[in-house]
Subunit: 102 residues, 2 copies
């Protein structure tokens, strides 16, 4: 069953671009992982400090396994201090749509 | 420039499944529209009444044109009374990711 997360990240003032770069760069670790079906790093058009990251994975288990790879740690370590608090993580269950396997 | 929306919809109690069906059904209108790159209808895992809909379009103009097609109106007319208030629409600018053209 596919599994998705919608994450809202609030960067400290002036840090949004850098956080977006880190997210894009770290996301490349999943380029060859077929379980990562879709991932979108996006800037809020309404709030200059906010990023929204939408990830669609083939399963929760594969997502959790991907998060455990040690190559990810330096990205997390660099990004977290640039955020106001922790990312707000919204777990969702895809029920339909276009552009991904049902 | 690609354009995306993250929409949060809160259904009236007991109506979430029906609203999701309407969204999936109406989304089929865009199946043959190449400007609709990705669309995901998903249920919140945390709130039994909430749906999140993520849409990625090739451009804002093509999205607006798609919304104007008359075939969409009956779906909107059926769904709106099943919601608590209006959908919360978050406009975002994709800056990177996987599974869509840059």
């Amino acid at each position: 069953m596919s599994y998705a997360l919608i994450n809202k990240l609030t960067a400290k003032p002036g840090q949004r671009d850098r956080v977006a770069q880190i997210l894009i760069e770290s996301g490349k670790l999943f380029d060859d992982n077929a379980a990562c079906i879709f991932s979108m790093v996006s800037e809020s058009a309404q709030d200059a400090n906010v990023l929204w990251v939408t990830d669609l994975w083939a399963s929760r288990e594969e997502h959790e396994a991907a998060l455990k790879q040690p190559e990810l740690r330096p990205f997390v370590a660099e990004a977290l201090p640039l955020l106001e608090g922790m990312p707000e993580q919204i777990e969702v269950r895809p029920v339909g749509g276009k552009g991904f396997p049902q």
